[in-house]
Symmetry: C2
Subunit: 380 residues, 2 copies
Amino acid sequence: MYDRSTQVDRSADSINFGIGQPDFALLPHALMRRVAAERFAEGDTELLNYGFPQGDGRFRWALADFLSRGYCGPVPPQQLMITAGASQALNLLCTLLTRPGDTVFVEEPSYFLALRIFQEDHRLNAVPVPTDEHGLEPAAVKEALTRHNPTFLYTIPTYQNPTGRTLPHSRRQELLALAEKHDFLIVADEVYHLLDFGTPPPAPFAFAADSGRALSLGSFSKILAPGLRLGWVQTSAQRARQFAASGLVDSGGGLNQFTSNLVRVALEGGGQRDYLDGLRREYRQRVQAMDAALHKHIGDRATWTLPRGGFFFWLTCAESLDTTALLAAAASANVGFLPGPRCSSVNGLSHCLRLCFAHYAIPEIEEGIRRLGQVFDSIQ
Amino acid sequence: MYDRSTQVDRSADSINFGIGQPDFALLPHALMRRVAAERFAEGDTELLNYGFPQGDGRFRWALADFLSRGYCGPVPPQQLMITAGASQALNLLCTLLTRPGDTVFVEEPSYFLALRIFQEDHRLNAVPVPTDEHGLEPAAVKEALTRHNPTFLYTIPTYQNPTGRTLPHSRRQELLALAEKHDFLIVADEVYHLLDFGTPPPAPFAFAADSGRALSLGSFSKILAPGLRLGWVQTSAQRARQFAASGLVDSGGGLNQFTSNLVRVALEGGGQRDYLDGLRREYRQRVQAMDAALHKHIGDRATWTLPRGGFFFWLTCAESLDTTALLAAAASANVGFLPGPRCSSVNGLSHCLRLCFAHYAIPEIEEGIRRLGQVFDSIQ
């Protein structure tokens, strides 16, 4: 989610909605300070030693319990393999499941750095599949399957990056049926799933992990702190053991022993739950503030749907608008966003843009969208 | 270094010299507890946020200063890219520099889990190159180059795993000249370099990083704590920036922001230096104790050289001895080791075995080698 090219100096009065990061001021400093002290006070040295490749057992139990409540359904700890974040999990899956030249399906648009992991780091053939206001279209997947034989489909089903949209339950079922029929995997990046602002989303792909057909990626980056580099893959217990038996995981004794030992205390003591509840309350206010500001300052010059969770608004402007060019004008007005083509595997969607509402407090959101409105005014 | 198959229950009175891990009792609990508290007391939330892809700037400066003193020569922070440990660095290099089927040269014997990363995780063609009592033989490399065109040569030049041997300066120069002439890279796993027990070893390959021809892997696993999953690659500043610009590194905002922020305090305050000095003193006593016990209980039934640093003794027995079969007899006597074939890319070296002297205190070392002597007695 970090991207240098969209990061600007905040002290320079810039408001850059292109930054897809939590607000520095909201990061759980007090909580992590407390759980670190508590974990060290337990007195053993296990947190400093090599761990079990699949991940610390007590941590996996605590995480499974937390996820079972969050997902409203059972998550067996045997299905969890601990990673150093969702990006590293994607990298692990590409290493262990693909070869250069293999085809993977990606949503159009999708998370721009996942596309780089696929296309540049692993030299995969990333085939874009169109989405509509409800996310991936199963018919479009079916159509693409007549021409391609993908190793996996990469989807961000809930509060998608960049669109904020959520795939309905029925489409999830259709995709699973297609995956079964055409023998490909579904890699579901579910890092925003727990970040709803009211109504819970449809059941996660994590619930289809048992068969090994779906792999669900989770992370503490959005619900606790990205610097921790801590996440998980949920898949069949057998596949989780296979991943853990790879040389690269086995060699390090698991992918994040120390940090997972600290976060375990936050899970067991309820600190993680309380912190996430606070985030949800705060983000709900921010999303409403941005929506109101967009109505006021952008109005009918773009369309969007109100995100029900996650980090992002996705604005669709007039077809003739080039948001990459618009970004230059925006920079002069000290405001920023992520242009649509950055989220496209084929450099498309030039009339769209992504805005993150998580990074700034409400006064900055209102001021930033006011500036954005002026940028739109200036190009009329 | 962790390997489940060689780990036994210590409570069951087993002494397993196959475990290549630090002694739990030596892990820096008090130091890490203190630096965690100090880092949180600094009050900012930077340690919890996404970091810079190449690694936290203050941490890289502190690490460069520490390495400059340890290596007795300048280490520019621009040449350092922070990783989540040497294993993850190896994985990163394989992803970014190789394709399945590419050839890499490995020492025979070598670190058994690196072999799995190459052969199984990345499906590389690992070609073994013979070593002698001074490590890699440049003539053997030259000979192998007549038949192969490697992407890189993987070497553990100092206090090698598993042999404990150190490559002399002249051979290092010869290898670098060969790499230049035949256009391959040298990936030097220098994780034991700072763990000398008296005389410093020859200059590290890190000093040849400037050209980008050599890449030096370092880690805190052997000098501080393996559970931290914190290491670095030293290479040319340009290559370090290239690695940092990959999707998989950029996406996470660096590979270990939180832990590097803690360890930075240990570097700046001298805690890391003092801890390492203590480790060296302790390991020097252990290596001497194991050497004395080997002379007493094994005698002329094996040959070995006294390690001048690192973790390991390498025993060469009679050609007719099968150390894999011997391990079964050893298990009955509650003692363990790593059989030679586990360290071979071609399942060879069946008459050799690796003993780790770092994991146990002196009384256990003496008792374990006494048991090993009895196992040797029993098969005469």
